[in-house]
Symmetry: C2
Amino acid sequence: VAALRLWGQEASGNCYKVKLLAAHLGIALEWVRVDVTKGETRTPAFLAMSPAGQVPLLRCADGSHLPESGAILWYLGDGTRFVPTDPLARARVLQWMFFEQYRIEPNIATSRFWIHLLNEADRYAAEIAAKREPGLAALAVMEAHLAAADFFPGGAPSLADIALYGYVPCAPEGGFALDAFPRIRAWAQRVAALSGHIAMHDPLRPPSAYVKGLP
Amino acid sequence: VAALRLWGQEASGNCYKVKLLAAHLGIALEWVRVDVTKGETRTPAFLAMSPAGQVPLLRCADGSHLPESGAILWYLGDGTRFVPTDPLARARVLQWMFFEQYRIEPNIATSRFWIHLLNEADRYAAEIAAKREPGLAALAVMEAHLAAADFFPGGAPSLADIALYGYVPCAPEGGFALDAFPRIRAWAQRVAALSGHIAMHDPLRPPSAYVKGLP
């Protein structure tokens, strides 16, 4: 049985999600740092493991490789307290995980990549502007959900909370201030207060950003 | 117990996926037509059921509503031949379902929406051009996978095949010719040859397009 190994980058919310779930579940992961901005996910060796050149990438216990953060979360998290057993409740966890990958990640994480990781807000001004309205709309959907629920989809933390926590608390780094979303900020505090929580250790972020434990 | 009801639009690949799975499994769905291009998914009544204004939307047996095509597929398909039982194999089904929603849908379905559904290729020329490279890259990942497998992820049809079949065979309607992807074309023929298969009944498509049963 191979040790579980995770290829990723510290400042990637998609990679952080997997580390966060592993921390909650006490799963040991060997961490292999890959720098997306230096093309390290486009080498032949990496593409042989991850056909779309994606991180996070998990080496599973059988030695095979699994990409896609949502699939990795499900692989590690199904059968734990982060995935309910009722079929409809399970589908609702996936509903919010697909929502995150379709509505949050392509708008908020992409803007954050240009602004925060590449530090090229001017160069990507048009792309960032195009992401603004759909990004805000996605946050508004989350804010509305939280009027009637403490977590996603419901009363207890699930994989969907782990997935959404990857990029939502750090949305301000992508130009999406959360001041207008008080329920989202309260939700993020609830997730960060869970026993076993770890912060994202983003080397691009000043140490003071970790004072409040967010994200 | 409420009858299962599906809100959707005929020409939407995301809606077609659900109809296709239901046809395979013999699940009866009440069909309620919603026209996205006429704003019918943005009315207060629809948003009360589908907070992000999405179709397909399923009314479940308990009367609650479930959006996100991937979540609906999982809700209807888990426990059937379209979802394996091994945990890693299940995660690999989700891997390709997330791949479809992140790499195929936002590039190929969006281009098809502008070109085929709206018939506004000129107006959206810049947006369509921006989708070209990532769309072709996603198709190349599928083509490479099919060198060693007949289906996604593996030897038997799964929910991932249903999901990918939503927009990949009709990629030419989005400007993505499949001539350079012979394995994808052969895969589409295999999926279309499965017992229980139904074609997408896209009213915008000339009847002759259905002669070969694709998509």
